[in-house]
């Protein structure tokens, strides 16, 4: 016992150091994989409100670019609406495609009040939270492409795990050929991601469009991710290492939409009835 006390006294500083280091590292590694609380993140009320004040000043810097993006998106939607909802069948006879009746997704507008793009894992902070109905696991996208998944929420703020994180793992596919895989990011270039899981006996066309697959029920099918820039061979594995050029520039992104899937519970319940389901 006396030896033990002497040991503690001798290595007092080292032990305190190890203890504090242990706390810090435990916090870090649990946050990366599963956030337990919103305290000590940018979703907390105090840091969220400070960042919102800063954003009130800096948000005007990219205003004209954001307006142009919004206009482009409006034009695309107008063209789509004209083409889809009014289908003429015969002279004097037409069908109205009622989109409200089969609505599966609802969208909430939000602004990004804090973001980084240069770290290994980049998180964005949004100005809406659980009071507006945001929940962990919802998808986030912008007018040009997919942005990320909600990681953590507080009452008025939420943190998005963006496409610029290592384990983002969004279910994506190459639009024309239908080959699907997971989205990853290697931490180097904010304009490029990688697609993992496409078998290399399939042919991958350069510059073909990559979109979300909608498999996990997080995103609707067909939200743009980017374009295939290059397909390299992975040594020792029968897979392509596909480099994707993101369609969205995350470095100047401000306005996003949060997607809520109204039929998610139904899908989860159905999938859970299948024995040995790999999706569980």
């Amino acid at each position: 016992m006396r030896n033990f006390l002497a040991f503690i006294r001798r290595f007092q500083v080292l032990l305190i150091f190890a203890l504090m280091q242990g706390v810090a590292l435990a916090l870090y590694f649990t946050f990366v994989h599963f956030p337990r609380s919103q305290y000590l993140t940018t979703a907390s009320e105090i840091s969220g409100s400070i960042l919102e004040i800063r954003n009130d000043i800096t948000k005007h810097f990219d205003l004209s670019k954001n307006n142009t993006n919004l206009q482009e998106e409006n034009i695309r939607l107008m063209e789509q609406a004209n083409a889809m909802s009014f289908i003429s069948m015969d002279n004097g006879l037409f069908e109205i495609n009622d989109t409200v009746h089969k609505q599966q997704y609802t969208y909430m507008p939000a602004s990004i009040i804090n973001s980084t793009h240069d770290k290994r894992n980049n998180y964005f902070t949004l100005n809406i939270g659980s009071a507006q109905g945001v929940k962990r696991g919802m998808g986030v996208f912008s007018g040009k492409g997919v942005v990320g998944v909600i990681h953590n929420t507080s009452k008025h703020y939420s943190v998005v795990k963006s496409c610029l994180t290592e384990t983002i793992n969004i279910d994506i596919m190459i639009e024309n050929s239908g080959q699907f895989g997971l989205l990853k990011w290697n931490g180097k270039d904010a304009r490029r991601g990688t697609m993992w899981g496409v078998s290399n006996d399939l042919e991958v066309k350069k510059w073909s469009k990559v979109t979300t697959r909608g498999g996990g029920g997080i995103f609707p099918r067909g939200i743009t991710v980017g374009k295939v820039e290059r397909a390299d061979v992975v040594e020792g594995k029968p897979l392509w290492d596909i480099t994707i050029l993101f369609s969205e520039d995350y470095r100047s992104l401000q306005r996003v939409y949060v997607v809520k899937n109204l039929l998610l519970e139904e899908q989860k319940e159905l999938e859970s009835q299948t024995p040995n389901n790999p999706l569980q």
Partner: protein, 171 residues
Amino acid sequence: MNIVVKIGLRFLFILILQVLILNQIEIGFGIQLFVYPLFILLLPVEMSVVILMVFAFALGILIDAMSNTYGLHASSLLVVAYLRPMVFKLFAPRDGYDPLLETNIFSMGNTWFLKVFGLLIIIHHFWFFMLEMFKLNELAFVLQKTAFSAPLSFLICILLQYLFIRNRVEK
């Protein structure tokens, strides 16, 4: 100025500078600027390691709270605080440290500052990027990030001292 007020103000200033300004500057090549190790360096010489580590943990975790790293900054600043007495002993002047002087670039001289703070900041950056990556096969990228970021952070720390430290004691 009272030493407690001085340390408190410096704590707040470095926190705000790091979180609201330097965290947003993203130059590319994986460069990230960290000036908060300077706070630990400028604490009084006779302060015990345990109190240093408490300060380090508090400052680190507050920076973490504002940049979604949740313990990463705290961990790397703790290393700096833990190693500070050893590095100080390693590069001690011949007649020891004057407990009344603050250990900044003016009171201790350029060579001392380059050796001590340079070593501490390289250790800090290396620890930070290593934990952030957490993969040994990306060691080259970690070293590249450290090699680019540490000199820039070091320069900013020198600039900060020239801007904000009054009553300079030239050696």
